[in-house]
């Protein structure tokens, strides 16, 4: 296996870079290293941040020697067959009703598809959570059908609603917090990827798989009430 590049990001963070592109095989290696480091964290390890193609490792350099950390990373990354175990498959209810999918008509126009076809394509795909970033619980997803690859907006739209399903630039995302965005809102889920008052504020881990189950507006309203009271309304299944 190819050795990761190690890049210092200051004296208290080290980046293990497995590639420069968005690729499930590269991401698998990021997650395998993340799992291995977190299973037996060396003293002085502060936190790790998995992204598309690299793992950022924050550490206390007065406790953990950089070269010792580097050696450990290289040895863990060289382990054969270090595939990630325990990823879950989530089915998130999603409403594509135009009232919840404010920009789906714009996507239909840009792609030459009908609104119904856009919704069906989005709901029919399987997505990998590559990373969180940008805002709390903002999940970047890979797996968007190429027919839905539209450029991002030239100028951002006003804040999207909570728990919006977004697409743009060939990627999909779940936007938990309302934020101005250059992406298009194509649906909404009642599930929350960040719920600070639940025992587990972040149900979905990086590396998990997401599927979307279309629901109508009435079902959305009912599930939204349950989710607002703290219930997890998405369905979780362990990967085979």
């Amino acid at each position: 296996m190819e050795t990761p590049r190690l890049l210092d990001a200051g004296e208290a963070a080290l980046v293990a870079e497995f590639g420069t592109t968005v690729d499930p095989a590269i991401h698998d290696r990021v997650l395998a290293l993340d799992d291995a480091l977190r299973a037996e964290p060396p003293a002085g390890l502060r936190e790790t941040v998995p992204t598309y193609r690299s793992l950022m490792i924050h550490y206390d350099p007065l406790v953990l020697d950089r070269d010792a950390l580097a050696e450990r990373i290289l040895s863990l990354a060289a382990r054969p067959g270090a595939a990630r175990a325990g990823a879950a498959i989530w089915t998130l209810p999603c409403c594509y009703d135009p009232a919840f999918a404010e920009d789906i008509a714009a996507v239909a126009e840009a792609t030459g598809l009908t609104v119904e076809r856009v919704a069906a394509l989005h709901a029919g795909a399987e997505y990998r959570v590559y990373m969180y970033g940008f805002a709390p619980g903002f999940a970047y997803l890979g797996g968007l059908p190429s027919a839905l690859a539209v450029s991002r907006r030239a100028t951002p739209r006003p804040p999207h609603p909570e728990n919006a399903l977004l697409i743009g630039g060939g990627l999909a995302a779940v936007g938990t917090f309302p934020m101005p965005t250059g992406w298009y809102v194509v649906g909404r889920t009642p599930e929350r990827l960040y719920a600070p008052h639940r025992p587990d504020p972040f149900p979905v881990a990086v590396g998990d798989t997401l599927r979307f189950d279309p629901i109508d507006a009435a079902t959305f309203a009912a599930l939204e009430r349950r989710a607002a009271s703290g219930e997890v309304v998405a369905h979780r299944q362990e990967a085979a």
Binding site: L7, D8, A9, G10, E11, A12, A13, V15, E17, T20, T21, V22, R46, E47, T48, V49, P50, T51, Y52, R53, S54, L55, M56, H58, P61, L62, R66, M131, Y132, G133, F134, A135, P136, G137, F138, A139, Y140, F177, Y194, P196, P201, F202, V206
Partner: protein, 342 residues
Amino acid sequence: MTPRLSILSAGPGVTLQDGGRHGYLRYGITAAGPMDPLAHATANRALGNPLGATALEVSLGGVEVTAEGGPLGVAVAGGAFRIGLDGASLPPACALTLQPGSSLTLRAGRAGAWAYLAVAGRLDLAPTLGSTATHTRSGFGGLDGRALRAGDRLAVAESRPGPADPHALLAPWLVRPPEEIRVLLGPQDDFFAEDQIAAFLAGPWTVTTKGDRMACFLDGTPLTHAKGYNIVSDGIAMGAIQVPGEGWPIVLMADRQSTGGYPKIATVIGPDLGRLAQAQGGTRIRFRAVDRTAALAARRAEAEVLARPVAMEPLIRTDFSAEFLLGRNLIGGVVDGAQASP
């Protein structure tokens, strides 16, 4: 009645910050925490609080506070702010007991962009994800996730008095001229040709007034990229200096997003984060590349300073210049106020 710190007035950008919300970057949660961690820790250390205890981070907008329901021990540390106690001026790093009915003001001064007001005891706030650090963009932490404003009252648990009379903190380590900021090159310095790295280090760069808790924006001769300015997003450390397409470096600070897609030419070393944060708009700075050994030595020196109690001395007179009081310990020895006056 539990004593309370009462906010009589607050300019924009005054927030509550503890040591930061760590451990959740992987979920897109920014750590927040103090812009100048050394000054924040110094104010807490002076009162015997844990170093990461919640304190007020005061912006150039300034603040006026009083105590209610009992006296409060407080300490101030940070930039060269103008500090006033019922109209009498105090040094920019000081500790005192704030009595009900008294007014303590922190106002922007000659230098520095942030000051910290710590309270002896514990500001009683409900943490979010284990931290009280305010991140206004996410709307959580501190008081309802927002900046403080007039009328806010902060209950203080386990309150203790401070020195009976105001004391100056002898904290010469807070004197940090912002003109030179030390960096480690990378993680994406290979996106820049050698002459551009040299131009980055030669500068000078001017800190613009556009900055906030999220980032410090620099003006100067724009840099060019050797292999484009888009990277597949990766993690961002505090102090990362990203160079977007237009070529002006942006230093990402406490409220930065957790990931980003521009190449990062260098990273400010931890001990110089506060030094940079304290640079007011218009300040000209340069970056100096150091190696990890130098960065570690600076970090170790900072840890040693914070491991000891902060020495204080009573104020003989209260109209010392900020330069004098901040630099007092550099002059050496305890000197008589009359001899030392300019």
